[in-house]
């Protein structure tokens, strides 16, 4: 099997949690693998991040270059092209940076590309069978990939159990000298932090969260009434924000807020992984969806197959009745 590399993102001197998940992927592809981590960046933060990988990787390749202070995918790609041996297997986390970097890297390496990998189903010679999802998680698929001229895989965050080995140390190898000067047609300017909204959905114990199933802007009131009756807040999934029915600050997910309520009512939400990534702390998850095949039912504690536009108003009435009656 080819040599396996993992590109590791880092922030404030700490390697991303994905580092340990990517190490697990490498070992699932090849139990005898001695995978190599690659980190790019500049200054003491890079040095610190290179040192906290423990023994999860046999080696850690460090590429220090001032222009890599902020991870610009085009510059990182050019740096990786200089140091990666041909026919390598390269693992990258499937998040906004990986989506920017990985497809182009596979083209430049002349290798195969599979994105958003959930599992490794088998390895035979230079063929790797991988598991992906399609149609927003409604079905899974096996994909056969010929890695004889290398491969780049992006790996879904959280899909593999991290194998963190804190004992020992990975050998840090400085590859900066092999990279030379780097230039790109895209230049990072700044990061604009999301505006705080009128309601802070991260502060509530109960969230009534709505998705595409709410169907139109006027129906948002149905969810607001239920939330009001319960003392909860209304949050939402991406399509509701895309349609401008609610503010971005109400969105739960990898490109929105991370919430930790006690109870999460997913109403007309299909359950795309980007949405689920924003729900932490293992809340009691109740899903209401008229599509019995909706992926949300795979992760919910309790499921109700019904139309939210009919179910929610009746639930609201019952909550109001209950709360106006003093407890016995």
């Amino acid at each position: 099997m080819a040599r396996i590399f993992a590109y590791i993102a880092h922030k404030d001197g700490v390697a991303s949690d994905a580092a340990f998940e990517l190490a697990a992927v490498a070992r699932k592809i090849d139990p005898a693998a001695a995978p190599t981590a690659i980190l790019t960046g500049w200054g003491p933060n890079l040095d610190a991040a290179c040192k906290n990988l423990g023994a999860s990787y046999a080696e850690t390749w460090k590429i220090a270059n001032e222009v890599l202070s902020y991870p610009n995918a085009e510059l990182v790609r050019k740096a990786l092209q200089k140091v990666l041996p041909s026919n390598s297997i390269v693992l990258v986390a499937h998040e906004h940076f990986g989506i920017d970097l990985a497809p182009g890297l596979s083209v430049k390496m002349g290798s195969a590309f599979v994105s958003d990998v959930l599992d490794i189903a088998g390895v035979e010679g230079t063929g790797i069978k991988l598991v992906r999802q399609e149609f927003g998680g409604q079905v899974s698929a096996h994909v056969q990939c010929d890695v004889s001229s290398g491969a780049v895989f992006t790996i879904r965050p959280g899909a593999f159990r991290a194998t963190e080995s804190t004992a020992g140390r990975s050998l840090v190898v400085d590859k900066s000298g092999e990279v030379g000067s780097l230039a790109a047609g895209r230049r990072y300017l700044e990061t604009v932090v999301a505006e705080a909204g009128d309601v802070d959905i991260t502060k509530y114990n109960v969230l009534v969260s709505i998705g595409r199933g709410i169907q139109e802007k006027d129906n948002v009131a149905i969810a607001l009434e239920l939330a009001d009756a319960m003392g909860a807040a209304v949050s939402c999934s991406r399509p509701v924000v895309d349609a401008k029915w609610m503010e971005k600050s109400r969105q739960v997910g990898s490109s929105g807020k991370t919430v930790k309520p006690k109870v999460y009512l997913a109403c007309g939400i299909s359950g795309a992984f980007q949405h689920l990534a924003g729900i932490k702390g293992n809340p009691f998850l109740i899903a209401i969806n008229k599509n019995p095949k909706a992926p949300i039912f795979q992760v919910a504690d309790v499921g109700i197959v019904d139309d939210i536009l009919e179910f929610l108003p009746e639930l609201t009435n019952k909550v109001r009745e209950m709360r106006s009656t003093p407890a016995k």
Partner: protein
């Protein structure tokens, strides 16, 4: 600005339940309702808005067969100037790299300043834009959720990153951008609008027209092949509540109260 948008016709997941066929190796496609891939529609709208401001033209291109023409007509009804169907039996079975290779050959037939794709389609690959940019040696940005034209040579764009934050970048033209949903509000297209463009000619390109041999696209060139579809058994799944709506509501309230959600 001369803009090309690469679009795809896909099953509309908001209208369909995706089910497997009896053999379990394909999805049941007979009854599916198809539409344009949602992010691609945002990309076309963005292209139209840029051209409305600074001039130029919008070309929408798709790879497929006769059925895929409806996507081109729909986007032409929105205002796209040209529709292009890239069609050849040899293209079937292409992997992402094959699709990007076909698009590259088409794009090199014209002179385009800006190439847009949707961020991903129904298979969730999120790969074509990045591959296409690398093949063309153009700069690339993914997950783009705003575009401002600075001058004839540069754009200021934002990318959607974690937590709803935006990463601002300047990017040189020509470039490839993959467009995220929500970047704009795509205009409505009615049946009447689609009828009005029904007889506008659609240009077609074949493998021969584009100089694409079996070694670079199609099944023979694909390093990545889907073997089958299956329904995963992820843990235990939800306990589905049965009974009348009233009974279910009582059960829900009992559970929510027990979990500390109602006091």
């Amino acid at each position: 600005m001369e803009i090309v948008v690469c679009a795809k016709r896909v099953p509309d997941t908001s209208e369909n339940e995706i089910e497997l066929n009896t053999a379990g190796n394909e999805i049941e496609r007979g009854e599916l309702v198809y539409t344009i891939n949602e992010p691609d529609n945002y990309a076309v709208e963005e292209a139209l808005q840029i051209v409305a401001k600074i001039g130029g033209s919008v070309t929408v291109a798709t790879i497929g067969g006769e059925d895929d023409e409806e996507v081109l007509r729909r986007e032409m009804a929105m205002g796209a100037n040209h529709g292009v169907l890239i069609t050849d039996e040899r293209f079937s079975g292409s992997d992402g790299r094959g699709i990007a290779t076909i698009l590259k050959a088409f794009i090199q037939k014209g002179r385009y300043d800006l190439i847009l794709t949707g961020v991903q389609a129904e298979a969730g690959g999120a790969q074509i834009g990045g591959m296409l940019a690398a093949l063309l040696d153009y700069p690339f940005a993914s997950l783009v959720n705003s575009i401002e034209v600075l001058d004839g040579r540069r754009l200021k764009i934002s990318r959607e990153i974690e937590g709803g934050n935006k990463e601002m970048n300047e990017i040189d033209l020509p470039c490839v951008l993959s467009i995220q949903t929500g970047i704009n509000e795509p205009r409505y297209v009615g049946m009447r609008g689609i009828r009005q463009v029904a007889s506008v000619p659609i240009q077609t390109f074949s493998a021969v027209d584009l100089g694409i041999g079996a070694g670079t696209a199609g099944a023979a060139a694909a390093k990545v092949k889907r073997v089958d579809y299956f329904v995963p058994s992820l843990g235990k799944g939800a306990e589905i509540l049965h009974g009348s709506r009233e009974e279910i509501i009582d059960k829900v309230l009992e559970l929510v109260t027990a979990k500390g959600g109602l006091k």
